[in-house]
Every structure is written in structure tokens, then in C-alpha cells.
């Protein structure tokens, strides 16, 4: 190997290493979408901690977002199904607070496919 070959190899190796994060970001949850009566009321990126209050049919619900996950932290509904569902982490996961007319879902990079088979 000549000196330039080493340079070339290191260059391409660096490029390959730079691409590595792409491999492990595939299909991860990217944002939380809050809807009321099917209408989007909030979209929160799943990158930072946040807590927002959303006005539902019965009162105020609390949506909590942490890096990579989201949940309904509090809801005035009588049976608390959406709260007890806990943290949502996967794309297309959804928690529905029917009495409040609210839903919280996780949108991945692609909302149109669940999976791809080759």
C-alpha cells in the first residue's frame, strides 16, 4: 500500500464511521402527536423533556414527553385507560382517552408503513 492508499482508506473509514449512527436511528419514535377529535392539537419532538396541558372534553389532561417516549400523565376520564397504558415508545403506538376525546400517538419517520419486507 502506498501512502495515498492509506490516506484514502482512512478517509473512507471515517466516512463509514460517520454513517454508523444512521443504522441505529432506524425506525425510532420521533415525535408525539396529540389529537382532539382527530384534529392535531400538538406535535412534540421526542428529543427533550416536556410536559404540556391539553384541554379535553372533560377538563385538562397532562401529556408528558421524555427523550424517546411519551405518556398521558393525567386525565380526568373515569377509567384512566390511557393513563394506565403508561409510556409509549414505538412508532404508531397510541393511547386513547375516549371520554376526553383525546389521543396520544407516536409518529415515526414514516407513518405510512408498519414494516418493509424485501
Amino acid at each position: 500500500m502506498k501512502p495515498g492508499d492509506w490516506g484514502m482508506f482512512l478517509l473512507f473509514a471515517a466516512g463509514t464511521a460517520a454513517l454508523a449512527p444512521v443504522a441505529f436511528s432506524g425506525g425510532v419514535a420521533e415525535k408525539a402527536v396529540v389529537r382532539r377529535d382527530g384534529v392535531v392539537v400538538a406535535e412534540l419532538p421526542l428529543t427533550q423533556k416536556r410536559r404540556i396541558e391539553v384541554a379535553g372534553a372533560l377538563g385538562t389532561s397532562v401529556i408528558e414527553v421524555q427523550p424517546g417516549r411519551a405518556r398521558v400523565a393525567a386525565d380526568p376520564g373515569p377509567r384512566q385507560y390511557c393513563v394506565r397504558q403508561g409510556w409509549l415508545t414505538r412508532p404508531n403506538a397510541i393511547a386513547i382517552c375516549a371520554p376526553s376525546h383525546l389521543s396520544l400517538s407516536i409518529a415515526g419517520r414514516s407513518a405510512d408503513h408498519d414494516s418493509l419486507a424485501y
Binding site: 502506498k2 495515498g4 492508499d5 482508506f9 473512507f12 444512521v22 443504522a23 432506524g26 425506525g27
Partner: protein, 185 residues
């Protein structure tokens, strides 16, 4: 029996290209038998031949050998005009363009390894471009990019080293009687 009105007389060039293409086709058939963890990842052993032809006879011959290998190799493997054929063809064309550029790098510092790496990365780029635009029009395909890049890095290096070694041996057998060309650095 009448003589055929058309007679093709192969030139020395034709014979040489056919010989190298045959070697390349043999290698691509052999490597088709090697199991690979990811579909689409191949060592690309036939590129060793392309590199040798490029170094000894120039770019035009390398194009001939490569395209003959892609077409005849796909015929032998039953891939002709199948999606895999267009992927190899687009990869081969992209890597030939890269080789055409890389061969002009100063030979003092850059050898077959550089050319091989450039060709390998051009190959996956051409392939993924066609795959993305036509076969799998979805960005999910790009998640495979790091794996293809890693394969290109390893196999590009390996093929380049093999080609460099073979070229060295060819040069030393050709210069056996005189051993005048002792220009290794």
C-alpha cells in the same frame, strides 16, 4: 455447405478482453455461492480482474471486461434483466466512472487500493441510487447504507490488496530475465 457470408475475425484485443472477462465471470459465479449476511452485499471478487485490466490495458478494456462480466454473469446465474441485474449494472457503471477518475491520481502515491476503494463506494452509491429511485422507493432503504458502506470499505480494501499483489507478481514474472525494473519503493 456454404460459407457464412458474415465472418467475424477476433482481434488480439478481443481475445484478451474475452480471456479477462471469462476470469471475471468465473469469479462472480464463485462468489454467488458464498453466503452473505445481508442481501446485496457481495465481496465483488470480479473487481480484482477489473483493477488488473485497468492497470495493464487502460480504462476502455476495463469497461469492456466489466460490462461483459455483468451481462454474462447474470445470464449464468439466471439474473439477467431481473432487479439484481440492474443493481449490478448501475453499480458497475458507477464504479467504472469512479475508476476513470481514480486512475488519474498520481501513481506515486496512489495504487490499486485507492482505485478499489473508490470503485467500491461508487458501486454502492450507484446501486442504492437506482434501488431508491426505482426498486424500493422508500427512505427506509437508506438505513442499510452504513452496512453497505462497511462492506465496501472491507471488500474494497481486500480486493485492492489482492489486485496490487497480483500486479506485482505479473510485473516480476514479466521482468524476470532482465530484472531491470526494480522500482519498488
Amino acid at each position: 455447405m456454404t460459407a457464412s457470408p458474415i465472418e467475424l475475425i477476433p482481434t488480439a484485443d478481443d481475445r484478451r478482453i474475452a480471456r479477462y472477462a471469462a476470469a471475471a465471470i468465473a469469479l462472480s459465479v464463485v462468489e454467488a455461492a458464498i453466503p452473505m449476511p445481508l442481501p446485496g452485499v457481495k465481496p465483488g471478487l470480479a473487481n480484482i480482474i477489473t483493477l488488473i485490466v485497468l492497470a495493464r490495458y487502460g480504462w476502455r478494456d476495463a469497461v469492456w471486461v466489466t460490462l461483459l462480466r455483468v451481462v454474462a454473469g447474470s445470464l449464468l446465474l439466471g439474473q439477467f434483466l431481473a432487479p439484481g441485474f440492474f443493481l449490478s449494472l448501475s453499480g458497475a457503471l458507477a464504479s467504472l466512472v469512479a475508476l476513470g477518475l481514480a486512475m488519474h491520481l498520481p501513481a506515486r502515491w496512489f495504487g490499486p487500493v485507492s482505485q478499489s476503494l473508490a470503485a467500491a463506494f461508487a458501486h454502492i452509491a450507484g446501486q442504492l441510487l437506482v434501488a431508491r429511485l426505482w426498486l424500493v422507493p422508500h427512505d427506509g432503504l437508506l438505513y442499510l447504507l452504513p452496512f453497505f458502506a462497511l462492506a465496501a470499505l472491507l471488500f474494497g480494501l481486500a480486493n485492492g490488496l489482492a489486485a496490487a499483489k497480483l500486479l506485482e507478481e505479473i510485473a516480476s514474472t514479466a521482468a524476470l530475465p532482465g530484472e531491470a525494473t526494480n522500482d519498488r519503493t
